[in-house]
Amino acid sequence: MSSDALTIQATEAAGQPWTQVLHGWVTTVDHKRLGVMYILYALFFLAIAGLEAIIIRVQLMRPHNDFVSPQVFNRMFTMHGTTMIFFVVIPVLFGFANYLVPLMIGARDMAFPRLNAFSFWLTTLGGLLLYFSFFGGNGLYGAGTAPDVGWWAYAPLTSRAFSPGHSSDYWTIALLVAGFGSIGTAVNIVATIICMRCPGMTLNRMPLFAWLNLIMGGMVILAISPLTAAQVMLTVDRYLGGHFFDTQSGGSATLWMHFFWIFGHPEVYVLVIPAFAFVSEIIPVFSRKPIFGYPVMVGATACIGFLSLSVWAHHMFTIGMNSYANSFFAITTFAVGIPTGIKIFNWLGTMWGGKLQFKTPMLFCIGFLFQFLIAGLTGIMLGTAPFNWQLSGSYFVVAHFHYVIVGGILFALFAAFYYWYPKITGRMYNETLGKLHFWLFVIGFHLTFDLMHIPGILGMPRRIYTYEPGRGWDTLNFLVTIGAFVQGIAILVFVANLIISYFKGAEAGNDPWDAWTLEWSVSSPPPSYNFASIPTVASRRPLWDLKHPEDPDSRYE
């Protein structure tokens, strides 16, 4: 089946003029091509937002630095945060979900292929609108270019009085448009997983990747929509003279905070649950053991999803809520630690006694385990209301959430890139460059984000464009910046590996990792129709059953 598929693929691609190829990509509704476009789009914005991070770090490298002006600094941290969340991490996760979910559940495409393409182009338009603000944000007022209100865009900073010109409008419209795209993709992912599974693929036999993306899709539907609603309100305020967040007319700035964080905190889990999904697929394969505690993993993830909808105000302890609200949000925040702990122990249980293979994806997964644990622990610290009063708005918080997003999510993403690179491109990546990337990134990451906790504890506030010398922050900030450059070099190694291996890598074959899920049963890259005949599965590891007919999993299920 698969070798036939490979030859068809080859004849298809041969000898088309580049305009035809481009036309094919732009008009495609194929989930794999859309997945690849999502991923490339995210990598493009990763480079831009990474550059913004470097600008921020160079400015803070030493006290009284004047590398950029305060105004530019505000724009840089706003654009860095907004871009990384909405136009890097969400698209890259949607890209992997798009590419892998249909292959893993034995489907030929997503449930709504055209909606899928529409959602991708909406997301693209959102990113372009955000960056067009550098040119169009001036408006007729000649004030402000890119958005500079921080990625939370708290009221009243976004009111006409404090944000003239169009910069905040570009921010609003970009997030609104990209939000519609996200909701479309989430609807598609959920419908695909519920309605398109191949015969025998009961919910109980789905790969954990599909399960976790199902939960992620549900959370996007419930979490992005409030942000969309809040953006509509902000637009009403700015363009129609509404008073939702206008304190002069009895409106409430706090209401915006609630609406933003009702989106903002579940969003963290929207980003981290797919990271869990990658790790849950990769660790078993490189431990040569099936995942430990499959039903508990599903239950714990659903539990995290549910709890995460009721923790948002732990971002708002310092605004002065009453003690009941503080206690409630502190307790729910602690409670998230329980299912998360279950998951970490299950991954360790999977590795325990396994024949571990320390390939690059596995190294990144192990890095993920340690770093995500520490990120969770500082999260528990910040979830303690009195401790939070002391450190809210400091660099300790910045260090904490970068530990989650870089140390957790980005490490899992790198693991996913290396693990599925052979499937997507048909070539093996370079293992030496992969390991170099891992070690450089680990060193750079810890240099930056371990040390960043300390100036936070010493009282350095976030979002300041410079600081006085002699407060004990100088050396630490210098080292943090060095670490940022090391991470930048590591990312260059990563991109070089992707490009070089695409042209020079060894042929990967269908199943380079001797893995167990359905995507490895087809050729690499898979043919446009995925499966020549729709497979039937009898267990959670269909390829194991195929390779070991004498001892199939289905016998024990």
């Binding site: 609807v187 519920i194 309605c195 109980n204 409030p226 007319s249 099936p290 039903p295 024990y556």
Partner: protein, 198 residues
């Protein structure tokens, strides 16, 4: 495999999964509900917080007739899709047209109310918090009615061209899910704006 051994039947003769249109629409309805929830919360939060008049008690009149129109359109669309399933195209088109008429009547009622509020009472979206939240919430619902009416009209045009038969009943049912949602949301908006808000 994992520690549990769940004995599952190995026969997959009848492998049947839910219709993707229904699941997709259900997801969209969840997303829309979340959007409406935020607007409803804002409305409730700002009741009585306007610094200037007019207040809801002074200017709002309960639109009983138009509410009955919209809610009964849920019944007619349900009847219409039943007719379609049984292949009775004429009856389907008639009750479909009735649904559109009732929806359009409701929309006319909203327009009339807005006209009265703006020209008689001087209440616009920028007058006070009541104006901001009222026009946003009712307007959000009205925009959903407009979207629904547009889709219903497209089906009507196809139906008049003789292109809608029992084989499209599944899709028509998905559309009627959306229309039922628009009606249910109106019950919430009605309660919040005309009952609690006054």
């Amino acid at each position: 495999m994992s520690a549990i051994a769940t004995p599952l039947p190995e026969t997959h003769g009848a492998w049947k999964l839910p219709y993707r249109g229904k699941v997709g629409m259900a997801c969209l309805i969840f997303a829309e509900s979340a959007i409406f929830t935020i607007f409803v919360v804002a409305y409730l939060f700002y009741i009585g917080k306007s610094l200037t008049g007019p207040t809801p008690r002074q200017v709002l009149e309960t639109p009983i007739f138009y509410t009955i129109c919209l809610l009964s359109s849920s019944l007619t669309i349900h009847i219409a899709s039943r007719f379609l399933e049984r292949g009775r195209r004429g009856a389907f088109l008639l009750s479909w047209l009735l649904t559109i008429t009732l929806g359009a009547l409701f929309l006319y009622g909203t327009g009339q109310e807005w006209h009265r509020l703006i020209y008689e009472h001087g209440l616009t979206i920028s007058t006070n918090l009541f104006g901001t939240t009222y026009y946003s919430l009712v307007g959000l619902h009205a925009s959903h009615v407009i979207a629904g009416l547009t889709m219903l009209s497209i089906v009507l045009l196809f139906g008049l061209a003789g292109r809608v038969g029992p084989e499209q009943a599944g899709r028509v049912n998905v559309l009627s899910m959306y229309w039922h949602f628009v009606d249910v949301v109106w019950i919430v908006v009605f309660t919040v704006v005309y009952v609690i808000g006054r």
